[in-house]
Symmetry: C2
């Protein structure tokens, strides 16, 4: 682990959390001398990874990170496959569809298909959700035992709502159940009023590389049986296109 590179990424991390920070704020949050932080910040700035406000001197993320994010999406075969089937799933279910991948203890949304009712909805690509508090995350974790160990070895499970699973034992037993069904559900565990259903997506090597699922109002629970089937089928279809031989793959 290279110290200065590590520090540079940590700086991007605090700017991610706090939007706009002065040099001294960045330095104090990372417990670095201001001059050290300054050198790293200027290097990041030279590449457009951060920009400095002319008036306030404060730093924030720069356009270069957006460019990187966009290229990341383009490189993902999962995403291009998900686009087609998300559309179908949104039509069949009548709900918004999300596809996500796991990074450490979070799910990052890589595709979002709005509810097919024509209303204007915020695109959700790039947003992150704690894995243990989402259907997408649980669907992935159920087939990635190593990641579960990593997750539980870290900080306590963060509570998002009163329904969030924060007991490791409860989470583990639910994941076992999800692995059996290849279907994860979530009821107001991340956001009050929202529920979710998701299923895992596997690649040619049988690895769980993502999950696809729908978001629906908690009031609409339980949805029709056909909705569960539709989610499973979308996941199975994408997995097949990625070269997976079986679905679901056993843990």
């Amino acid at each position: 682990m290279i110290q200065s590179v590590d520090r540079a990424i940590r700086i991007l991390g605090v700017l991610q959390g706090a939007r706009r920070l002065s040099l001294s704020e960045v330095a104090s949050r990372l417990e670095l001398p201001p001059s050290t932080a300054h050198g790293i910040l200027k290097t990041l700035q030279a590449h457009g990874m951060v920009v400095q406000d002319r008036d306030s001197n404060r730093y924030q993320l720069g356009p270069a990170v957006l460019k990187l994010g966009n290229v990341y999406l383009d490189t993902l075969e999962l995403r291009s496959r998900a686009v087609t089937w998300s559309e179908e799933l949104a039509r069949r279910s009548g709900h918004a569809v999300r596809t996500g991948v796991l990074t450490f203890d979070e799910v990052v949304i890589i595709h979002h298909e709005p509810r097919p009712d024509g209303s204007r909805q915020m695109p959700e690509v790039g947003i992150v959700i704690p894995a243990h508090a989402s259907a997408l995350g649980k669907a992935l974790l159920a087939f990635l035992p190593e990641q579960v160990d990593g997750l539980l070895a870290g900080d306590k499970l963060r509570s998002m709502t009163s329904e969030t699973l924060i007991d490791p034992a409860v989470l583990r037993s639910q994941l076992t159940e999800i692995a059996r069904e290849a279907l994860a559900t979530e009821r107001e565990e991340a956001v009050l009023g929202e529920a979710g259903i998701a299923a895992p997506i596997f690649d040619a090597s049988g690895m769980a590389v993502g999950a696809i699922g729908i978001v629906l109002p908690a009031a609409d629970w339980p949805p029709a049986e056909s909705t569960f089937t539709a989610v499973r089928e979308a996941a199975r279809n994408i997995s097949r296109e990625l070269g997976a031989s079986r679905w679901p793959v056993s843990v």
Copy 2:
């Protein structure tokens, strides 16, 4: 400039260009010993900035860059303002609307409003276009003389089509004209069959912070006079919301 941080960002840069690279490919492109590149890559990997394919051992960008990109968009006041007015401009003009910012010699699209004909269109947020070959870029450059100097001090202007402006003198004179009108146009200079119209957006300090414009088929050129007016008004309205006292601001 911190060498190792600089190298880390360069690595992200080559992965951005080439999607998926082995360690030795990364190393040779940057003229680094493989062991040096390896150390940096592992640090980036530890933060999810790059991921390594299990089977092929090749590296590619990771989900963390998408997360960063999304937060960048959220921090931009310009973007939130642009959303509302883009919608209006798309409706009035009947064309797709783009809002972009300048980084070095490129324009990065920070918002895209699809053509209001209901057809399915690829979102273009995050894509980059050479500044000298786009209406958005020229609208910005006309009000940022320093950036023009930087642009022309670098490599030769890259030709995208036969119409691309590659002569610095021609570009400079066109920019003078654009600064006078506060309106830039482009006809098949970036993509054959596409034309564009754009106007600069200023913030409270009078700096050109972005540009908004429309993309239309080259065959539809010239559009109605009202279309030009609509673009200028969108830019003026956003500038006003950002606190700009006048529009356009003199160079």
